[in-house]
Amino acid sequence: MTAALTVSLDVDGPAAPPRSNGELVFAEPWESRAFGLAMTLNEAGAFEWEEFRQRLIVRIADWETSHEPGECFSYYRCWLDALEQVVVAREFVTAGAVQERAAELAARPAGWDHGHDHGDHGHGHDHGDHDH
């Protein structure tokens, strides 16, 4: 849907961009990544949006019936769960691979993202091929 990419607006001027109407679009960076992943996969034809939406509806309904008292609703958590279900169902990745990679990322030493002169060494684990 490249047509959408042609939709652009004055970034300044009397009618200011969307933020003049309210809050930030994404509360945390991972939310924007989760959003972007779904958009990009769908745009590339990897899945039908409706397929994703149906899973999102189910995830939201599940949360509503089963969450802990006092737990705050996180829309993008449901979004990510639904997305993961779609990509696993489509066999793009396995749930185990996501867990394993997430555990590797969790094991990064503190301060791993501070300073950019470290290259790839010193992490004690292999992220695989990042040549993209």
Binding site: M1, A3, A4, L5, V7, S8, L9, V11, P14, A15, A16, P17, P18, R19, N21, G22, E23, V25, F26, E28, W30, S32, R33, F35, G36, L37, M39, T40, L41, E43, A44, W49, E50, R53, L56, I57, I60, W63, F73, S74, Y75, L80, L83, E84, V87, F92, V93, V98, Q99, R101, A102, A103, E104, L105, A106, H127, G128, D129, H130, H132
Partner: protein
């Protein structure tokens, strides 16, 4: 099983999909930037301002929302079937998506937190007058409230009432008055 922080789970998924060539990071960054900065309620505001000043455009907008907003260049994901509902002194329209968060992205950008909130989605259908009052919009008892449930088939968009005192205003002067909330039907346009 230990529970991995969601930010890491997202990062892991992104890495794997990129490594497998399923996600192009540049395309992905483009989408994020587009919805963070370019596509937002200003699009909808331009549509409203034009409808207020051009009766023929307004007629087209109410007849076929998708085609009329495309005239202004607004199209794209989640904007495939837009239906415009007009507020009048007697009828107030408000939009919800009871199942998830269907919303006319090309006109309003991504939905705000309150629109996605389970309480809003459940309550605005059952007690719209109370919910609107809580959100700061008091409607007289004789104003009829119509609640529109968006879906993947239809995205509703509210054409709010033009406020008094703006008779001589141009489109460019009117558009900044039109906020996101007025186009979802939870606020009134103020001059």
């Amino acid at each position: 099983m230990t529970r991995v922080p969601i930010a890491l789970r997202t990062e892991a998924l992104e890495q794997l999909l990129v490594e497998r060539g399923l996600v192009d990071p540049k395309v992905m960054d483009g989408f994020i930037k587009m919805y963070e900065t370019d596509v937002g309620p200003l699009n909808g505001a331009k549509v409203v301002a034009k409808a207020w000043t051009d009766p023929e455009y307004k007629a087209r907008l109410l007849e076929n929302g998708t085609a009329a907003v495309a005239e202004l260049g607004f199209r794209g994901p989640q904007g495939e079937h837009i239906v415009v509902v007009e507020n009048t002194p007697d009828v107030h329209n408000v939009v919800v998506c009871t199942l998830c968060s269907c919303y006319p992205w090309p006109l309003l950008g991504l939905p705000p937190a309150w629109y996605k909130d389970p309480a809003y989605r459940a309550r605005v259908v059952k007690e719209p007058r109370t919910v609107l009052a809580e959100m700061g919009l008091q409607l007289a008892d004789d104003v009829q409230i119509q609640v529109w449930d968006s879906s993947s088939e239809v995205r509703y968009f509210v054409l709010p009432e033009r406020p008094a005192g703006t008779e001589g205003f141009t489109e460019e002067q009117l558009a900044p008055l039109v906020t996101r909330d007025t186009m979802a039907g939870v606020a009134r346009v103020m001059a």
